[in-house]
Amino acid sequence: MIVAKQKPLAEIKEMLRPFEKVLILGCGTCVKTCFAGGEDEVAMLGAALRLAFRQDGKTIRTEELTVERQCEDAFIQESAQAVSRNEAILSLACGAGVQAMARRFARAVLLPGLNTTFMGVLEKPGLFTEECAGCGDCELDTFGGICPVTRCSKRLLNGPCGGSKNGKCEVSPDIECAWQLIIDRLTLLGQSDNLKRYIPAKDWRPSLSGGPRRLVREDHVI
């Protein structure tokens, strides 16, 4: 899923200051799962903002709505009327959702309520971890299902750096050394020969480095 985090209330408040009627629009898929932008978060943020503005002696009218996915036009449509009734939309979707809204509603003011952080998983209750950087050329088969492009702090493809200690990365004791995990898992799988193979310099063209990416599916073009 795409993991995001709500922006600090003060920052959101600052963005909203010029407006009196604001739609707080949640997204019911990824960011709901990571407790950043589903119905519950929309309701809580609405209440917190109203209170915060009231303390400043200002009233703000908030409308609350959550659609299934802000990154899909079919779901975005459901918000059309609410969008037209408000001066600004505070979108609690990932960056793709915010932009999909902006694309659909050319005249609406779109404000991001979240900081979109990474593609990851819920590793255990309360902990989300980054797993994939969307490099465009997946090599997980070589690395025992653990991605060094994303999870090694230096994106090393040919084994651990000299900073790996007790399974932790030199960057922080909170970060598992991806290479320790890769070595352990390949050993477990009986694939430690993979470790001996020289991995050539990665071709980054399929990644963001090649410019913004598009995917054309001829079979779906109408």
Binding site: S153, K154, L157, P160, G162, E170, D184, K202
Partner: protein, 309 residues
Amino acid sequence: MKTDGQSKLKRTLSGGGFAVTAECGPPRGADASVIRKKGETLKGCVDAVNVTDNQTAVVRMSSLAACLHLIDIGVEPVMQMVTRDRNRIALQSDIMGAYSLGIRNLLCLSGDHQSLGSQPEAMNVFDIDSLNLVHAVRVMRDEGKDMSGFSLIGAPEMFIGAAENPFADPLSYRVVRLAKKIDAGVDFIQTQCVYNLPRFKEWMRQAREEGLTEKVYIMAGITPLKSTRMAQFMAAKVAGMDIPQEVIDRMSAFTGQRAIEEGMNIALETIAAVKSIPGVRGIHIMAIEAEERVPELVKAAGLSQRPAK
């Protein structure tokens, strides 16, 4: 400035001599006298001097420029290059430039992560890793081609080095990685500072067993400790450092000048010990901001004759 000739470090090592290199860090500023002074101190007592590349991710004078200052005063440099700050385009270009200016030795590293350095806000590069860099330099040198396969007008004939940390985890993989580095094209290895001798010996044993010491010149890293505080700081804060408690205990029995002497004693004992390990072909002294102590250490270790016979 002399811009022809081969690496003297290579000549020493391939001639069977026990090589000595030392490390020196460029200044955090544009004052060339700092690097020249360090170079003058080290001149004549070592085969070559490593010049760090924004070491510990702290912004300093560029390694290439500092290497030129050394060449200018007659000291052979080993240019260190990390893949943290430059992509393959910049790395290859700087290697050609460095060779054209007389640099003959290159040490390929990935580099400490920028979050540990002076400007943690920076974006890192890590386009390629240190092995990819070793491989690229080897192909540039031996096949005269850059990473795209383009035939170069003049190949950079670098003596190629890399670092290894026998003390990092996992131990079982460290020798596999060394073998990979050799396959990629590395000529010499400088190791992380040796304090944990049993572990270093074990790593060397594994390297010999795999026949790797026949294929690469291994130089053991030596850093004289100056105080208990330094020992504790390095043990706790420097990535990949392994200082056993008994070494820290030895240091904490002394203070001031006596502690400095004890640090020198430990370094001398370590040099004597690594010299007797089959396959160790030299030492690499990293006297962090204490280059003036290197001549004394080299002399006390009985290694002052440079080049070695």
